[in-house]
């Protein structure tokens, strides 16, 4: 479900990026920044600037920023097992842990 959401988000980002790329350049003569006045740039220059900006932002967002890693999913709704519930199938090789150990040691091993 979350994967589908991410794919949708990526598709929307791609669509917006493509829109910016082709919609902005024709509006160049009308782009006006109050302090700088009208920007004397051609459509191709705006296209170049927008494409460059999109590449840099994409590399940053997907490589460094918020989308650079996926959040882990909860393992399951009934985790960890409650006392009294059916125990997970375990094999118990080796010596038993010392009695004074406070943390429960299960023999499943690490990850």
């Amino acid at each position: 479900m979350k994967r589908l959401k991410m794919t949708k988000l990526n598709a929307v980002i791609l669509l917006v990026a493509a829109l910016f790329l082709f919609v902005l350049p024709p509006f160049t003569p009308y782009i006006d920044i109050p302090k700088l006045g009208r920007i004397p740039l051609s459509g191709m220059q705006i296209f170049y600037a927008v494409l460059s900006l999109e590449i840099v932002v994409a590399v940053y967002i997907f490589g460094v920023g918020v989308l650079s890693r996926t959040q882990p999913q909860p393992i399951s709704a009934g985790y960890p097992p409650q006392p009294g519930s059916s125990p997970a199938p375990t094999v118990q090789p080796g010596p038993t842990p010392p009695a004074q150990q406070s943390t429960p040691v299960t023999p499943q091993g690490g990850h």
Partner: protein, 271 residues
């Protein structure tokens, strides 16, 4: 053959200088953003999820969670937080049912994850900054190569004094190691930014050819000249993109190549 070696040396020296600029820029951004602690927090959250089965948000919303756990300042927190004894206690504080076993081994994996993710992010950051610098500055390696290859005077300048200057600067920067978990002081940050500005100005003064042509490309934009204009922009875009990728490879790589090429220079070879 000699002109080719000289061109290669000059080109490598320019790439090395650009790589050093990107390295300084990456360092400045890294010190402002503190990516290391962010990765550490992410791994602690993963460990909490693995041992309790609950997401971090769920754990924080739990009324039994102590207040101090909600108010942890993750800024500049180092690996010392990830010890089995401390994490075992910490996870039990978050959830009494947390299954804390084999913490020593698991923490080693998480610490390795923190370091790997941090290195990867730094490489991606360098790539993003390198691409940004080259694309917006329109620094085109193809034009730089062409200029060096065709202009003998430029070639002589960049294959000898400039190459030595770049190598010296690279050696000086290589000795400055920084700890990712150490918070830099304001003075250190200021000096880093000043060094970046100085190096950038120096680079633009020394290497003025093949830079920023796209921003003054009025001749290509005249009516009836569209095809030429598209070709020109495509050439500049691809050249700058390639340059951005090349300078992000890393200063040590260019430094090694420069040293190998410098040894082939006639004055060095005869010595």
């Amino acid at each position: 053959m000699l002109s080719l070696i000289e061109t290669l040396t000059g080109f490598t020296a320019i790439m090395l200088m650009l790589s050093l600029l990107v390295k300084t820029l990456t360092s400045v951004v890294k010190n402002q953003a503190d990516y290391y602690s962010d990765n550490l927090k992410h791994e602690v959250q993963r460990l909490a999820l693995e041992t309790t089965g609950k997401t971090w948000d769920t754990l924080m919303q739990n009324p039994n969670t102590p207040d101090w756990a909600r108010n942890i300042h993750w800024d500049r927190l180092g690996d010392q937080f990830l010890t089995p004894a401390y994490m075992g206690w910490f996870l039990k504080q978050l959830d009494q049912n947390a299954r804390v076993f084999d913490l020593d081994t698991r923490l080693k994996i998480h610490v390795a994850n923190v370091n790997y993710a941090f290195q990867l992010r730094m490489k991606n950051l360098a790539l993003a900054l390198g691409l940004g610098l080259c694309l917006f500055g329109n620094i085109n390696a193809l034009t730089i190569w062409k200029s060096l290859y065709t202009d003998q005077q430029l070639r002589a300048t960049f294959s000898a004094p400039y190459a030595d200057k770049a190598a010296t600067l690279a050696n000086a920067q290589a000795t400055q190691g920084t700890d990712p978990t150490k918070k830099p002081t304001q003075d250190e940050l200021d000096s880093q930014i000043k060094s970046l500005q100085k190096n950038m100005r120096g680079f633009l003064t020394d290497v003025s050819f093949g830079i920023g042509r796209v921003w003054r490309a009025n001749a290509q934009n005249e009516p009836g000249n569209e095809k030429k204009s598209v070709e020109f922009f495509l050439y500049e875009f691809l050249g700058s993109l390639l340059t951005g990728i090349m300078v992000s490879i890393g200063a040590p790589y260019w430094h090694d190549i420069l040293q190998a090429l410098s040894a082939l220079r006639p004055d060095k070879a005869n010595a």
